[in-house]
């Protein structure tokens, strides 16, 4: 993933969630770092390649920095931080068709 792709991915999420925030993305070492500023509060999203695979780290201001091994985990945490009022929709598969 390059900075433009991360920016597009996060921009798409902010748009989906109707979150007004400032977003900036830059390379940090061999990974990427995005700063999302919403109402003055900073949330950082980092992506890096670790020995076990791709890792995401999300940290909201004043909170612990949490690691996720998947994009889904990162999205879930980010939604809880930036748009906690949004409804959750877990995907469900209907067996044998509708």
């Amino acid at each position: 993933m390059n900075p433009a792709e991360l920016e597009a991915l996060l921009s798409g999420l902010l748009r989906l969630w109707q979150v007004e925030a400032r977003l900036s993305v830059a390379r940090e070492g061999e990974g990427l770092r995005a700063d999302i500023t919403k109402a003055g509060a900073l949330v950082t999203v980092e992506q890096s390649v670790q020995p076990f695979g791709i890792a995401w780290h999300v940290q909201a201001e004043g909170k612990r920095r949490l690691a996720y091994p998947s994009t889904i985990g990162m999205i879930k945490h980010l939604r809880e931080v930036l748009a906690p009022e949004r409804g959750v929709a877990r995907v469900m598969f209907a067996a044998g068709g509708a």
């Binding site: 798409g12 791709i54 209907a94």
Partner: protein, 324 residues
């Protein structure tokens, strides 16, 4: 026993759903079809089956309509299937006519997830009627009509003998750019548009052919976004992708449909068919319907950015590859 195909006929009040059904029920091509109508006052014909799931108008005003109707429909279908199994009646397919104010999503979801109906019925298509005379105004003023149009696999323009259909077509396309449009002839709809397609790929092929150029955002932020790619998708990546999509979009993801070339089985495309966050079990076609073996997915949702689903899928594929 193969699941019975189910067609959901929806559309706003007075848009011609029942007229279409009346004509259809008199058509020999429609024999063997069990019809369930959410509203009373349905037509009764001897050679076809008609079951009515009464809709409580009081519940409508309380917002409980979807739950009430869902339960009624599941029970009605369950009763029909039980009578079919007992040899009392025979039918090969089901059609549900929703009420004019119904949201088709919870109805389809409720049936998809009903434990008693699991594996017994399969959504074939959602058909939505749009009144050529009043459709543009109705779509502008009634969110129910917009949602019905957005969920449709096929948009049926009714009353096309009275006025030009183009304004209503354009209005409907603002909410669903991917569904093919057909017109009725004095209330008559060609059976093939209402009956289940021979294979899921047929309606999908129609839809996807239109969707190639249909990447645009429209009123209320409802956008149709397409993803076409030649590379096969690992099965696990597809599952994770759909989960991520549901997680990110929540209830704003209205429809997902398409054909996917799965890396583990590239010769037998998987049919993806989802209504909001509920996906039908993957259907596998025996072969690609045409020479086009590209993965083609259509997403209809609110505030979806063009290219965003593709980016999400790419990222998940990288994670899957890195973890392997």
């Amino acid at each position: 026993m193969a699941p019975l195909p189910l067609t959901v006929l929806t559309g706003f009040l007075g848009s011609g759903k029942t007229t279409i059904l009346k004509h259809a029920l008199a058509d020999p091509a429609f024999a063997g079809t069990a019809v369930i109508v959410n509203e009373f006052g349905a037509v009764g014909l001897d050679h076809d089956l008609l079951e009515a799931a009464e809709e409580d108008l009081v519940a409508l005003s309380t917002g409980c309509l979807c739950c009430a109707v869902r339960g009624d429909l599941a029970l009605t279908i369950g009763n029909l299937l039980a009578r079919r199994t007992a040899g009392e009646i025979a039918f090969e397919r089901l059609v549900i006519e929703t009420s004019g104010l119904a949201d088709p999503a919870p109805i389809v979801q409720g049936l998809a997830l009903d434990s008693d109906l699991r594996g017994k019925i399969q959504l074939a298509r959602i058909v939505a009627t749009v009144d050529a005379v009043t459709g543009a105004e109705t779509l502008a003023n009634h969110p129910e009509a917009r949602k019905q149009a957005a969920f449709a696999d096929v948009l049926v323009l009714t009353k096309s003998d009275l006025v030009a259909t183009e304004p209503a077509v354009q209005a409907a396309r603002r909410f669903n750019a991917s569904a093919p449009t057909v017109t009725t002839n004095r209330g008559r709809l060609a059976p093939e548009h209402l009956l289940p397609p021979a294979t899921p790929a047929r309606v999908l092929a129609d839809t996807l052919a239109l969707a190639e150029d249909a990447e645009a955002e429209h009123t209320e932020g409802i956008a149709t976004v397409t993803l076409v790619r030649p590379e096969p998708v690992p099965a696990i990546a597809l599952t994770l992708f759909l989960e991520a999509l549901a997680e990110a979009c929540g209830p704003d993801l209205l429809r997902v449909k398409g054909l996917v070339q799965i890396a583990e089985a590239p010769d037998t495309p998987a049919v993806v068919h989802g209504v909001q966050h509920v996906f039908h079990a993957l259907d596998w076609l025996e072969a690609w319907p045409t020479d086009d073996r590209n993965t083609r997915l259509v997403f209809i949702g609110r505030r979806l950015m063009p290219g965003w689903p593709r980016l999400l899928l790419q990222q998940i594929e990288r994670e899957v590859a890195a973890a392997a």
